[in-house]
């Protein structure tokens, strides 16, 4: 009677491990899925080990066949390491997928912000602490004739100079706007081109920290108000 119950328990186990084995080998390998071919192999191997153990137990307790009993006892040792390595592989894969998802979201947000910046009528610049332009939106590029970077982090532009309304030049360009590293808003400035032409700008600026928390430059928003000035002055 006891032997029959033991065979029954092992039959349930064998059937369950067979199901797990068959399911494991049919798990699809999705690019965004957790089940890499290695994970599927580990799960299938763990299931196969105990399928063998259960069948061996059924033979032993059902018909007294013990030829594979020693092999079965040793093969049992492999189940737990296989399960442990499966869990570890799944965890690593999940961490990789989480990281990839975060990177994708950050890239989407970055692209969205660039689109917002490019359609904004206000020109946006990032300047370093000596006034070199390191980033310019489409609006700022057009207004200030800023070119593409060519092997340098500082973007090239015609030698225009920035002056305050009294005509005093700002030695560090737009970087001179925040002497106490505080944000400024709607500062009227004059942009003077090499050929003597001028443009009236309304400029806001704020200091920007780098990765270490130190001053990494300034973000500058500018609007060409020359046309507005001309209309008001007319």
């Amino acid at each position: 009677m006891t032997e029959a119950v033991i065979v029954g328990f092992n039959a349930v186990g064998a059937l369950a491990f067979l199901v797990a084995f068959l399911v494991a080998i049919r798990i699809p390998a999705r690019r965004d899925g957790l089940a890499s071919p290695g994970v599927r192999m580990l799960i299938a191997a763990a299931a196969a080990v105990y399928l063998f153990v259960s069948v061996s137990n059924m033979l032993e307790h059902g018909i007294g066949y013990e030829a594979v009993d020693v092999v079965e006892d040793y093969s049992e040792v492999f189940f737990v390491p296989l399960l442990a390595y499966t869990a570890y592989a799944l965890r690593s894969r999940q961490q990789y997928l989480d990281e990839a998802r975060r990177a994708r979201m950050a890239r989407r947000q970055h692209d969205f912000l660039l689109q917002v910046i490019d359609v904004s009528p206000v020109g946006l610049l990032v300047v370093d602490d000596i006034g070199g332009v390191t980033f310019a939106s489409e609006g700022a590029r057009a207004a200030l004739d800023i070119g593409e970077a060519a092997g340098s982090v500082t973007l090239p532009h015609p030698a225009w100079r920035v002056r305050d309304p009294a005509g005093e030049p700002l030695e560090r360009g737009f970087a001179s706007l925040c002497p106490r590293r505080a944000a400024v808003e709607d500062v009227p400035l004059v942009l003077e081109w090499p050929d003597g032409a001028t443009a009236s700008l309304l400029v806001s600026a704020a200091p920007m920290a780098d990765r270490t928390g130190r001053l990494g430059g300034y973000v500058v928003a500018l609007e060409d108000v020359s046309a507005r000035r001309a209309v008001l002055g007319a």
Binding site: T2, V5, I6, G8, F9, N10, V12, G13, A14, L15, A16, F17, V19, A20, V23, A24, R26, I27, P28, R30, D32, G33, L34, A35, I43, A46, A47, Y50, V53, S54, N57, H61, V70, D73, Y74, E76, V77, F79, V80, P81, L83, A84, A87, Y88, L90, R91, Q94, R101
Partner: protein, 91 residues
């Protein structure tokens, strides 16, 4: 009590915290079933070693019952995990 049975129990006990903590950290359906499957396997290995000292019939029965339970729990865990892989995880 045979050395291979002690070895299996030793490995199961040593890897218990690793497996349980790792499985608990996974946000996948079926992880709970796999943890219980491991626990059932541990019971089976304990029983097969204890049966050499006390209540051999009872612990022998418990050993095989635990194997059956471990199989069912393992299969449930793998099926739940496989369903997630078939259906895909919502973004």
């Amino acid at each position: 009590m045979r050395p291979e049975e002690m070895l299996t129990l030793g490995v199961t006990v040593m890897l218990l915290p690793v497996v349980i903590l790792t499985l608990r950290g996974l946000s996948i359906p079926g992880s709970r079933f796999l943890q219980w499957s491991y626990a059932a396997m541990l019971v089976s290995h304990l029983a097969t070693n204890v049966e050499a000292y006390v209540l051999p019939d009872a612990f022998n029965l418990l050993e095989h019952a635990a194997v059956g339970a471990a199989g069912v729990l393992f299969a449930l865990g793998i099926v739940a995990f496989a369903r997630r892989e078939w259906e895909g995880e919502p973004e």
